[in-house]
């Protein structure tokens, strides 16, 4: 029997196991010890490990990031949580000027083994300041690792890897992925950074989806099957390092690539991936498209919000138009069984 866990339970288990294994691991951030426990991901940790290792912080994102950096320099492994990634913008100075620089600027004399967890909101009117996904800004910074696991399996393995990593790692958790359930081994394990996953195999078009957009790509994959199009779906899992080999291989096979960012498209993961394809002369024939958030702040009303985000529907429509140019336009009819994609695993 394969054990099934939800995405937040997979994170909770990773934290619990790592804190049990290594007493240098601390959990800090606003709400880590309140009754909601970061949507359950820090449940039970305060009771088990005590207030020295699990503590709330003042509303001082930049200062608390600095505190985490200092604690990491002193040999601890802090995990700093942000309940919305929008607040990471307040910590950019410490993340970019300090955490990302320490190892290189001092030629290896110091290192900063810390994890920054950040949740991305979506729907129920999250609006302009509770929906942002700023990983493209941080992909532009040398010295930071960025991981955006999609499945519960990867959430646990990536978090354990991040905690054991000797460098600052930003972990991106999409709020809607918290509904995902899937196979998660009970024992402790890591997944390597810089290794993408083929979530669905196909031969006609490659769909790369970042974070929750990998789910939308999987849904699009199912819609496209109805019209005989076989889409290959890739989840890059980590954005820095980025597994370009996995994408090159798939795009070479299909000749067509759509990258769906869980963010605005300019200077995003799509821009980066497609630029790297454009720079490779062997791959110059590959047809490429970017999809992502509409280039405006996120609105709250559902009608405009639906227009703002890429969706399985939009991705399938775009892929169809790319593959069947000149054919009458097609768009899928929404099916509930497709919209409820879950990972059954195992990987």
């Amino acid at each position: 029997m394969h054990r099934v866990l939800s995405y937040p339970d997979a994170i909770r288990e990773a934290l619990d196991q790592e804190m049990s294994r290594d007493d240098s691991v601390l959990v800090m951030g606003q709400g880590v010890d309140d009754h909601k426990r970061i949507l359950g991901t820090t449940r039970g940790l305060l009771e088990k490990f005590g207030p020295q290792r699990v503590f709330d912080t003042p509303l001082a994102e930049d200062g608390m990031t600095g505190v985490a950096i200092g604690a990491a320099m002193a040999g601890l492994r802090p995990i700093h949580s942000h309940i919305r990634m929008d607040f990471v913008l307040l910590a950019m100075n410490q993340l970019v000027n300090m955490a990302a620089k320490m190892s290189h600027m001092y030629s290896g004399a110091l290192c900063v083994p810390m994890v920054v967890r950040s949740l991305i909101g979506k729907s129920w009117g999250q609006g302009a300041q509770h929906s942002q996904s700023i990983y493209p800004m941080l992909m532009n910074v040398p010295g930071l690792k960025i991981v955006a696991p999609t499945t519960p399996y990867d959430a646990k393995g990536a978090l354990i890897q991040a905690i054991r990593d000797n460098n600052p790692v930003l972990m991106i958790e999409h709020r809607l992925l918290y509904y995902q359930r899937g196979y998660v081994p009970e024992e402790s394990y890591t997944i390597p950074f810089g290794k993408g996953r083929v979530l669905a195999e196909g031969t006609d078009v490659t769909l790369v989806g970042v974070s929750h957009m990998a789910i939308e790509c999987l849904r699009a994959h199912r819609y496209l099957r109805e019209v005989g199009i076989r889409a290959e779906v890739i989840d890059p899992v980590s954005l820095n390092p980025l597994d370009m080999d996995c994408i090159f291989k798939s795009a070479t096979k299909t000749g067509k690539l759509i990258v769906v960012d869980n963010a605005w498209t300019p200077c995003g993961a799509g821009a980066e991936i497609i630029a790297r394809i454009a720079e490779n002369r062997m791959l110059s024939a590959i047809e490429c498209r970017r999809m992502g958030f509409a280039f405006v702040p996120c609105p709250t009303t559902p009608t405009l919000e639906a227009l703002f985000y890429p969706s399985a529907h939009k991705i399938a429509t775009e892929a169809y138009a790319m593959l069947r140019p000149g054919s009458p336009a097609w768009e899928p009819t929404t099916r509930l069984d497709v919209e409820e994609v879950e990972f059954k695993g195992p990987f």
Partner: protein, 320 residues
């Protein structure tokens, strides 16, 4: 003078004089373009770093700013590695990748200096939190200028330090200017200690950068902090930067301040003061030794190679 007092005075004089002469040597070499880094000199401010660091224990750690030569040297940072770092040589403390503004010597408790004002403050608090978590008997001395007090990071950092009662001494080197902006153009009143006390931190101002006063203050409070009897302490040391904000020259002709503004500090120069307190032969011996050491350090930097190209990508990440 008692033997102990003589010993301490000689020790403090050596550190003060050494820093002053190293900085002066930098000003001589700087026009030759051998130093490949902007320099923010500590000339005039040595007594703050020396007074604090002489009172610390070897296991204690310091965090500082881009004007960090004095702190680095006073805490025992390696001189040859520092000068080589300024020269951009591979033998430098950061193999030439940090420069004057980013000095490091972990073995002697120098945990880095930052060019972004105020950034080391919360980092030093986090380090102190780590020390307490590990039940270490070391404490942190966190140095910054009066400009840092304008930054949000300062207030975020000291609030958390007070809340968690971490083992740290905050040292504000108040030279009255953030680059060229006088502190009273940046805040309503000259009441830094009062503001710090409102966070629940014991704060004291020392007006004339008296090196012994600073030493005694840190000696007393570091013992109380080390033994866990009290939480963080704050000291505001009034001082003056004798040279320009960045670079080797004086800057009294640009209108933002006059030579007269720092005259009281020059008259009160702790390097000269301590030299006069010592018997002539003792001072002369120290001076001779320091001059030789400085010559050797600059020669070491001159003779060292630049880093190979491979260093560019090295150490971006720490491997497992």
């Amino acid at each position: 003078m008692t033997n102990n007092k003589l010993k301490l005075t000689a020790q403090i004089f050596r550190s003060l004089y050494r820093i002053r002469r190293i900085e002066e040597k930098i000003t001589q070499v700087y026009p030759m373009d051998k130093i490949k880094s902007p320099v923010h000199l500590s000339i005039g401010q040595e007594a703050v770093s020396v007074g604090v660091c002489e009172a610390l224990e070897p296991q204690d750690v310091v965090f500082g700013t881009y004007r960090g030569h004095a702190m680095y040297l006073a805490k025992g940072g390696d001189l040859k590695s520092m000068i080589a770092e300024l020269y951009g040589k591979v033998t430098g403390c950061a193999k030439g990748k940090g420069g004057s503004m980013h000095l490091i010597d972990k073995d002697h408790g120098v945990m880095g200096t930052s060019a972004i004002v105020g950034t080391t403050l919360p980092v030093s608090v986090g380090y102190a939190l780590g020390l307490r978590y590990r039940e270490s008997d070391a404490i942190v001395a966190s140095f910054f200028g009066d400009g840092a007090v304008d930054e949000g990071a300062f207030h975020e950092g000291i609030n958390f330090a007070a809340l968690k009662k971490v083992p740290i001494i905050f040292i504000c080197e108040n030279n009255e200017y953030a680059i060229h902006s006088h502190h009273l153009r940046r805040r309503l009143a000259d009441n830094m200690c009062e503001r710090v006390r409102s966070y629940g931190i014991h704060a004291r101002r020392i007006d004339n950068a008296d090196v012994f006063k600073i030493y005694r203050f840190v000696k007393k409070y570091s013992m109380l902090i080390r033994s866990g009897q009290i939480g963080p302490v704050f000291i505001e040391c009034m001082t003056a930067r004798w040279r320009e904000h960045v670079g080797p020259n004086e800057d009294f002709d640009f209108g933002y301040r006059t030579r007269g503004d720092i005259e009281h500090c020059v008259k009160n120069d702790q390097v000269q003061r301590l030299r006069c307190l010592l018997p002539g032969p003792v001072a002369d011996r120290i001076i001779g030794e320091v001059e030789t050491e400085i010559e050797e350090a600059f020669q070491f930097a001159e003779d060292s190679p630049f880093p190979d190209g491979v260093e560019l990508f090295n150490d971006l990440f720490r491997e497992a």
